[in-house]
């Protein structure tokens, strides 16, 4: 089982203190210990991107980040991606407008990867969109409506 550790992380703006085994992944901590099941596990090899969360604002694959590595850092999951009033964020609204989701399993990671992209590049090119989402696999949509959602969200952010 390995050693156990006490860690402190800020999850969706809220400081949390939890005990974890050294080998526990950040994804398992979020899902099993903190009950944040919006983070989905697709491959547990760091390939598919379904488990993407933001670690200090940067997208990471939470299946290959250990929970202890997040000690002292801030994590944003899909549960914390919405607007401050509990509504949807502009990125989430754009995903709804474009019907950029079918089964929903990759969607949490897609939304967070998009959010991170638009933080850095408010008006991304098509190549930048593909690069930012290239590590997030979607089996349902063929990416067309996801790209549309990213573009809509970018246009929206430009308008504000």
């Amino acid at each position: 089982m390995g050693s156990r550790h006490e860690i402190e992380i800020v999850v969706n703006g809220e400081p949390r203190r939890c005990g974890t085994a050294a080998r526990t992944s950040l994804a398992d901590l979020l899902r099993d210990t903190l009950g944040l099941t919006g983070t989905h596990l697709g491959c547990e090899h760091g390939v598919c991107g379904a488990c993407t969360v933001l670690l200090d604002g940067e997208p990471v694959r939470s299946c290959i980040v250990l929970a202890v590595q997040a000690d002292g850092h801030a994590v944003t999951t899909i549960e914390g991606a919405g607007g401050p009033d509990g509504g949807l964020s502009p990125v989430q609204e754009a995903f709804c407008d474009a019907h950029a989701s079918q089964c929903g399993y990759c969607t949490s990671g897609m939304v967070l990867a998009t959010q991170a992209l638009l933080e850095e590049r408010p008006r991304p090119t098509r190549a930048e969109i593909d690069e930012a989402l290239g590590g997030n696999i979607c089996r349902c949509t063929g990416y067309v409506q996801i790209r549309e959602a990213v573009e809509r969200a970018a246009e929206g952010s430009g308008a504000r």
């Binding site: 089982m1 598919c48 949807l88 089964c103 399993y105 969607t107 696999i137 089996r139 790209r147």
Partner: protein, 802 residues
């Protein structure tokens, strides 16, 4: 009814499921953990074929947190084998191998522990002794006498062999000027959803009731669970209010369900089994068709097809299950969109020492479409004829519908030339050709692919009867419960789980249209398998068609009742009033009417205003057969297979790097006809997604094995699902020839894109290769090495000529 008459159908509108998915509020099976849940990990076979001579679980059982270890032999004593659809009683498919293991990765024992991590630790401490046995991997070798046998008691690896002849094959071949033969290979792949299969089972000893939550898309899942567990069917309750993280046909974890349920019964605790990716890819029995085709097309000098022969050999893996039936469904579209008066179809299913196959998107149709289209392209090359002109010349003409094909199915409707025209216009074909030439001038190889393919929709299960005449199932019903409560709110209850098809939106839209009530206010909820109605699950592109029929029936019954109540209160006969958007009005004097809310109030609360003999409440259940089903297959296999036939034309431009063999898709256009569209965004999503899936089949995806039967595709690092880098912008346009056999003219769309993409992409690559003097590649996926080898062969040939 035309599109313009609809109030909500075919209109852009938000998909109601999206809101919960973008905010992470879907509820998948992995998110369901009843108190006290135990977790399962699996011990898997490292051998492709071996006798199990001993299992030592002592070390595992000593570990903290490990609760139990179950072997295949122990499970076999307490359960029945899983269902086979062929009559093959010696083939025993079980959740855990008993006695022998028949493929590498097969589950041999289950370890149950307080957490999944501890269960995995335990699985590493279960020691299994094996005695390796001879194995067979190649399907052609497996079909030969003297091959090692996967199931020795069955006596042969050939599980099914059927030969069909429809029409005047000899006469049609005699009048042909030539024939072209193409041997093609559709290698082993699958849909591989991002969510693996998962199940939670909880046996309630106090109630004699098994509760199951599972990521299923499977007809008869509850019944098959009960049968294998030796339980009465009314003690198994499968919950359908579970979001399924993708399926596309494969989420049929009956063995997972039986295993988890048995463990729950044995341990008196909820048991959860969530596959990891390796368990899913190697041991889930979720692989798809793995086929070798030989297609021979006979044609006249001016390119009129006279006859087709399709020989197909399908490698089922170790356990055939429902998979051989995937050889029968394509009988319903065996000539594609073409007027071919006679057909020979010879289908063989063999078993090998590989992971078992399961139903995959299209149930055998996409591989068949690919094989037919590869042969059509080859005929064009042999005749020196334009590929589109050849197709156009052979298309069934719009005035010929309904059109009976030689194998007995009538295509409902279509306008194939118009859809091809739309694709050509959408792509701006001259511009596409100019782009191809520009790529070629820049030093790359480039080619245009075209595919014209059908999507049978409205799935029934008559293929069970075709492949196994002793199975006389002729209906595959769907149902809904429609209720208007005392406040006038509408709720629709359905009894199926969804895996991304946006059924809530579809059902609300259709019910709204039927009743003339705003879909936004209509609730859609899921019953479970005991409180629900007949449902065969959303397979075979059938829900808008069959559930649509049930919704029409329920709406009509509800309106009848509302008319009876209103007429009674308006003092006229029931045939003197009209239903009008929720109100009921006197036909002769429409100002005299009873409003929706008043009728609902009377039905629920005012017996004194109810017509005598009418039941209180406003609630109806309506079950519908699949349109045009009901007949058994004739001895020659002729029967109406599916009722509706959607159509799609793909035009794709591929660019190939001659140095690396890498293929890039430069442009992608589709014209698609699924009759009346219910929700435009959902339909185009299906078309794009199916196309991306087909691109994967054409270029990237294969479950490969070593000569020893070891799986070489170990993870998503080797089994390559297309990413945003591989899928180009796909441009789609819709055409609409309504089906005459459905409520609003709708047809199926769940397999759209996937029906034509493998054929179109392969056609584009082969157009590029043949233009460069290289031979076409007739094996999917076309890997960079295949392209490079084809170019190398051409170069060597060229040198040899000198």
């Amino acid at each position: 009814m035309t599109e313009t008459e609809f109030r909500w159908v075919s209109k852009p509108g938000r998909v109601r499921e999206d809101r919960r998915f973008v905010s992470g509020r879907g509820r998948y099976v992995a998110d369901i953990t009843p108190p006290g849940t135990l977790h399962v990990a699996l011990v898997t076979s490292p051998h492709a074929h071996a006798r199990i001579t001993g299992i030592d679980a002592a070390e595992a059982l000593e570990m903290d947190g490990v609760v139990a270890v179950l072997t295949g032999a122990e499970l076999a004593k307490e359960t029945e084998p899983l269902k086979q659809y062929l009559n093959v009683p010696q083939v025993q498919w079980r959740p855990l191998a008993a006695g022998e293991t028949r493929y590498a990765g097969e589950w041999v024992a289950a370890v149950v522990a307080e957490s999944r991590a501890v269960a995995e630790d335990g699985a590493e401490r279960v020691f299994v002794d094996y005695e390796p046995l001879p194995l067979v991997l190649d399907p052609e070798e497996a079909a030969e006498d003297g091959s090692p046998l996967v199931h020795p008691d069955h006596g042969t690896n050939v599980m099914a062999h059927r030969e069909f002849r429809w029409g005047d094959v000899d006469g049609d071949r005699a009048r042909a000027a030539g024939t072209t033969r193409v041997r093609s290979r559709w290698n082993r792949n699958s849909t591989v959803p991002l969510e693996t299969f998962g199940v939670v089972a909880r046996w309630d000893r106090g109630r004699d009731l098994l509760d199951v939550w599972a990521s299923i898309q499977m007809p008869q899942f509850p019944e098959q669970l009960a049968r294998s567990l030796r339980l009465p069917t009314n003690q198994v309750r499968v919950h359908f209010d579970v979001d399924v993280g993708g399926s596309y046909g494969v989420k049929r974890g009956i063995k997972h369900g039986v295993l988890a349920a048995h463990l729950s019964r044995m341990l008196d605790a909820p048991v959860k089994l969530i596959e990891d990716r390796a368990e899913n890819m190697h041991g889930g029995d979720f692989h798809g068709p793995d086929r070798l085709f030989e297609v021979e097309l006979a044609y006249t000098a001016d390119g009129e097809f006279t006859s087709i022969r399709i020989d197909v050999l399908d490698d089922e893996g170790a356990y055939p299950g429902r998979s051989p039936l995937q050889l029968a469904k394509p009988i319903g579209a065996i000539v594609g969109p073409y007027r071919i008066p006679s057909v020979e179809y010879n289908a063989t299913a063999v078993v090998t020492n590989k992971t078992g196959q399961v139903a995959v998107r299209g149930f055998g149709q996409s591989p068949t479409n690919y094989a037919i289209e590869a042969a059509v392209d080859a005929v064009a090359r042999d005749l020196g004829m334009d590929r589109m002109e050849l197709r156009r010349r052979n298309f069934i003409r719009p005035e010929e519908f309904p059109y009976r094909i030689p194998s007995g199915t009538e295509y409902d409707s279509g306008d194939y030339p118009a859809v091809l025209d739309k694709a050509v216009a959408l792509a701006d074909l001259p511009a596409l050709e100019a782009r191809r030439d520009e790529l070629r001038a820049g030093g790359r190889l480039a080619g245009i692919g075209v595919a014209a393919c059908l999507e049978p929709g409205g799935g029934n299960a008559i293929f069970e009867n075709i492949m196994n005449p002793s199975n006389d199932k002729t209906t595959f019903p769907e149902a809904c419960r429609l209720r208007v409560d005392g406040e006038g709110a509408v709720t629709v209850v359905i009894a199926l789980s969804s895996s991304g098809q946006s059924h809530d939106t579809m059902v609300a839209t259709l019910v709204g249209e039927e009743l003339g009530r705003d879909p936004a206010g209509i609730a859609v909820v899921r019953a479970d398998s005991l409180t629900g109605m007949p449902s065969q699950s959303p397979v075979g592109s059938r829900m808008t068609i069959v559930l649509g029929q049930a919704i029409r029936g329920a709406g009509d019954e509800l309106k009848d009742k509302m008319r009876a109540i209103a007429a009674h209160n308006l003092g006229v006969g029931p045939d003197e009033v009209d239903y009008d958007g929720g109100d009921v009005a006197v036909r002769a004097d429409p100002a005299r009417r009873l409003a929706w809310a008043e009728i609902a109030a009377i039905a629920h609360r005012k017996q004194h205003l109810m017509p005598p003999g009418v039941q209180p409440g406003l609630e109806v259940v309506h079950a519908a057969h699949t349109p045009r089903s009901g007949a058994l297959a004739q001895p020659d296999g002729t029967v109406q297979v599916y009722p509706c036939y959607s159509f799609e034309v793909h035009l794709v431009l591929a660019a190939l790097d001659p140095g690396t063999g890498k293929v890039e898709l430069d442009r992608y256009y589709i014209a698609h006809d699924c009759g009346t569209v219910i929700n435009p965004d959902v339909v185009r999503g299906m078309v794009y997604g199916g196309t991306a899936h087909g691109i994967g089949v054409a270029l990237y995806e294969q479950f490969a094995y070593s000569p020893e039967g070891q799986p070489l595709t170990q993870s998503f690092m080797d089994y390559l699902l297309p990413s945003a880098h591989e899928v180009p912008t796909i441009v789609d346009t819709e055409h609409c020839t309504p089906s005459p056999y459905t409520t609003l003219g709708q047809k199926g769309v769940g397999e759209a894109g996937y029906m034509g993409a493998p054929a179109a992409v392969a056609g584009a690559v082969n157009d590029a290769l043949t233009a460069a003097g290289a031979p076409p590649v007739h094996s999917l996926p076309i890997k960079p090495g295949d392209v490079w080898a084809a170019l190398r062969a051409a170069r060597d040939d060229h040198r040899g000529d000198k």
